[in-house]
């Protein structure tokens, strides 16, 4: 366990180093941050002065070194736009994104498991074909189109759900702005989560279905039938538990990727999370925030990967975390 932890931490550090290096080397391609800070009539000379003050004219390695040095102390720099430390900005925005991803994952898991199982057990039934058909159509819809259609139908035409933002939030633990605890917050969460889950849900249904169908053909499932077990037991315990293994590895990673893929959903729904923050920081060339976002997303990704491995170890008795390669 100790070795595992050490390895993971080392890995996380490496991943974040690489990401920050890439982030740093590309940041000048996003435009000049100073340009976004000043009105149009400020002269180029004045802009140069501001750049000098901000250290933006220093050589690449000097800037990167400075970044690393303060990063060690937990300071990822300052957001020009928000005029605050980026860690503060990201911390304030993270709950929105994480809650969105959480709800979308919840939808994905709660729906894909029963639907996937059903269509694996009864592959020939009409309903299964319907599930597969709809999931294929779901896969074929671009997220932003889904999102805007949802808004059009449920907000504009029917007026049932709010069209943007997070609604009423409650602060937990002094820093976590949660929309999960108020009715209004949950109403606001609904459509963005559905839109975000619309990409992953069909993939999960199909994944679970195909894995489950494979498992259903194995000897141990056949043996379970021969033991005269009730179908529920065979399907939900014998088959499903084994289906979970590949689903956890593939699916866990997918859910982790979802954090990086909230960008489109957040933009359309004006969801004030890290994704829209990133888009805006790109538009404003707020480089420190941009680089930190990529680093944080990389970090979340490593964390999710580690969690996936841990859960996999819990479900799969043949794997003992301590002894894992």
């Amino acid at each position: 366990m100790f070795a595992f932890t050490v390895r993971r931490v080392a890995q996380a550090v490496l991943v974040m180093l690489i990401i920050s290096l890439i982030g740093f080397s590309i940041k000048h391609n996003f435009g000049d941050p100073v340009r976004e800070l000043v009105g149009e009539r400020v002269t180029p000379q004045e802009r140069q002065q501001i750049r000098d003050q901000l250290g933006l004219n220093d050589p690449f390695m000097v800037q990167y070194g400075r970044f690393l040095k303060s990063a060690v102390h937990g300071d990822l720099g300052r957001s020009f736009f928000f005029k605050k430390p980026v860690t503060e900005v990201i911390l304030a925005k993270a709950p929105a994104t994480l809650e969105l991803v959480f709800c979308a994952s919840l939808i994905v898991i709660l729906l894909s498991v029963p639907l996937g199982i059903y269509s694996a057990i009864h592959p020939r039934r009409l309903l299964s074909r319907l599930i597969m058909g709809v999931s294929i159509v779901g896969v074929s819809m671009p997220v932003f189109l889904t999102a805007i259609l949802l808004i059009y139908i449920f907000s504009v035409e029917l007026g049932w759900l709010p069209s943007f933002g997070r609604g009423e939030t409650v602060q937990l633990f002094g820093f976590w702005d949660s929309g999960l605890l108020t009715r209004d917050g949950l109403r606001h969460l609904l459509m963005p989560s559905v839109a975000l889950s619309s990409i992953m849900l069909p993939l999960f249904i199909r994944l679970i279905r195909s894995e489950m169908m494979e498992v259903l053909e194995t000897e141990y499932v056949k043996f379970a039938w021969a033991k005269g077990l009730r179908p529920r037991r065979v399907w939900y315990v014998h088959a499903f538990k084994n289906t979970l293994l590949p689903v956890i590895t593939v699916g866990g990673v997918q859910l982790g990727i979802m954090v990086a893929f909230t960008i489109l959903t957040e933009t359309v729904f004006q969801w004030q999370g890290m994704g829209s923050m990133f888009i805006e920081s790109v538009e404003r060339a707020d480089t420190a925030l941009m680089v930190s976002y990529i680093v944080v997303v990389g970090f979340i990704f490593v964390v999710v990967n580690t969690l996936v491995d841990l859960i996999y170890g819990l479900v799969n008795p043949t794997v003992r975390i301590a002894g894992r390669k």
Partner: protein
């Protein structure tokens, strides 16, 4: 007993209804494309910050709807000598902090404006403000200057007591202007305006509450404004259509019809003063140095069609920089779309067979910018000029613009002084790094006559004479086809029907929310 219950419930019902309506009537949910970047009005000169300033601060004078000026914190003013204008301040005006407005605040504010990177250019002609007594102040310019009053619309007096002293959080003075980091002024405000900022989550929501001690009693009834930035136009429209917000600005042209047709909503549009142009770089491309080619291109461009089709009538086709109402507006100059004439000119210029060139345009800076550029490409192909276009987000665009990487570049300009000379200074005068003139003249058009006339107009205080000069400049630019003028972008606001939206908006796009009345 029974009667009492009835009466009680009646009272209760009435209170509830009253409570309900009063809340509804007085809270405005407002969605804009962006929210103020700071609480410090001097940190950036932009439309968004000025819109904010009009909510939380008050200027000395402000533009009225008809383009005139109306007194705000200055009750009256007079010019006491060619370089000095005296302003008499309103008495009994309170800042949000409780301090009372005095001449010192104006002195402090002008001094601070001259320190601001963004504003010091605008206030370059001003040397200082001098307090004559507690409520009288003189603004002094370095030389006679025709735009003192126009500039006074930018002077939003700040509470100098509130902004002085040392801030504990960063150990700096409270009035320091910092663009990229914490400063006291970035996160605290004390103005005299109709609203106080009570809550702000940048990029998410800003809450404004009516200032109880506001000096002007004859204003609107909005007690609270919740401002949410919604950058995606369709989402912004959806929020209005679904009733999630009461007021949006701007309205994307594609949805104007939809908003107009929706029951319970009102759409207000107004022709604006931001000119959109294409600049033809004569240094990069020798063909563009030929006036005939430039004229041909101007003739080949169908401003009216674009304004009608792409802009949905949401733009006024232009043949010059100055919009109607500006001193330099030359009514004789009209859009000149004429394809036959264009082809003829190309032939005369010796480019009958056409040529190829490159073009860049932003895709999120102006209304429909990328589409307009695309339409331009199509139109130029009719006179055999093959244009290769690249559009990009504005964050990347301006660096490319400055570097003049393409032969044709798009730029829009709004005159901060609401005056024609401002266009010429930045867009049409010969580029000069020293003076900063022609800073946004990527066409490198250079005509000494234009330079001379512009400088002369700036020193001219006689409006009639000035107007003649400015109009003749527009004529020269038109005849030379110095650039391709497209249109002036219209302004648009949409809101629920139950408010006097029409009365609070103006051509500067500074809605005076303090005057908004919701029924």
């Amino acid at each position: 007993m029974k009667r009492m219950i009835v009466r009680l419930s009646l009272v209760l019902a009435v209170t509830l209804v009253a409570w309900g309506t009063s809340v509804n009537a007085a809270t405005l949910k407002l969605a804009m494309d962006a929210d103020p970047v700071s609480l410090d009005p001097h940190v950036q000169l932009s439309a968004g910050m000025l819109q904010y300033a009009h909510m939380v601060f008050d200027p000395l004078v402000r533009w009225s709807k008809d383009g005139g000026l109306e007194p705000r914190l200055a009750e009256k003013w007079e010019q006491i000598n060619p370089t000095t204008t005296r302003f008499y301040l309103r008495k009994g005006v309170k800042f949000h902090s409780g301090n009372e407005l005095s001449a010192d605040d104006v002195v402090f504010t002008l001094a601070r404006l001259k320190k601001s990177e963004d504003y010091k250019g605008l206030f370059e002609y001003f040397t200082e403000a001098k307090a004559v007594d507690s409520h009288t102040v003189d603004l002094i310019t370095r030389e006679p200057y025709g735009l003192v009053l126009a500039m006074a619309t930018y002077i939003f007096p700040l509470d100098h007591k509130f902004y002085s002293g040392k801030d504990e959080q960063n150990g700096k003075m409270k009035d320091v202007i910092i663009k990229t980091d914490y400063s006291f002024a970035n996160f605290n405000e004390s103005g005299t305006g109709p609203f106080k900022v009570t809550g702000r989550e940048q990029g998410v929501k800003t809450t404004f509450v009516r200032f109880g001690d506001y000096w002007d009693p004859n204003t609107g009834n909005v007690s609270e404004i919740i401002l949410t930035p919604i950058s995606e136009p369709p989402t912004r429209v959806a929020a209005l259509l679904s009733g999630d917000v009461d007021f949006i600005m701007p309205v994307p042209p594609t949805d104007l019809e939809r908003v107009k047709k929706t029951d319970g909503l009102q759409l207000v549009t107004m022709s604006g003063s931001r000119i959109i142009t294409f600049q033809l770089n004569q240094k990069r491309r020798p063909e563009f140095a030929n006036a005939k080619v430039r004229q041909a291109m101007a003739y080949a461009y169908n401003n009216v069609g674009v304004a009608k089709k792409i802009m949905k009538g949401f733009a006024t086709p232009a043949a010059q920089n100055s919009p109607r109402g500006y001193q330099g507006h030359n009514a004789a100059l009209q859009p000149r779309y004429d394809l036959a004439r264009a082809k003829e000119l190309m032939k005369e210029a010796g480019y009958e067979k056409g040529f190829s060139c490159t073009m860049i345009a932003p895709n999120n800076r102006y209304v429909n910018d990328a589409k307009i550029a695309q339409a331009f490409v199509t139109m130029m192909s009719k006179i055999k000029i093959k244009v290769t276009l690249k559009t990009m987000p504005k964050a990347q665009y301006w660096d490319q613009y400055d570097a003049q990487v393409a032969d044709i570049q798009m730029i829009g300009w709004h005159s901060d002084t609401e005056d024609s000379a401002n266009f010429f200074e930045y867009l049409n005068m010969c580029p000069d790094k020293e003076t900063g003139r022609g800073q946004y003249n990527s066409g490198n058009y250079c005509n000494p006559e234009v330079d001379r006339l512009t400088l002369a107009a700036n020193g001219e205080t006689d409006n009639a004479k000035r107007s003649v000069m400015l109009r003749s400049i527009e004529q020269i630019l038109f005849d030379d086809a110095a650039f391709i003028p497209l249109h002036w972008q219209n302004l648009s606001w949409a809101s629920k029907k139950n408010m006097n939206t029409e009365e609070i908006i103006n051509v500067m796009n500074f809605p005076y929310f303090g005057d908004l009345n919701i029924q």
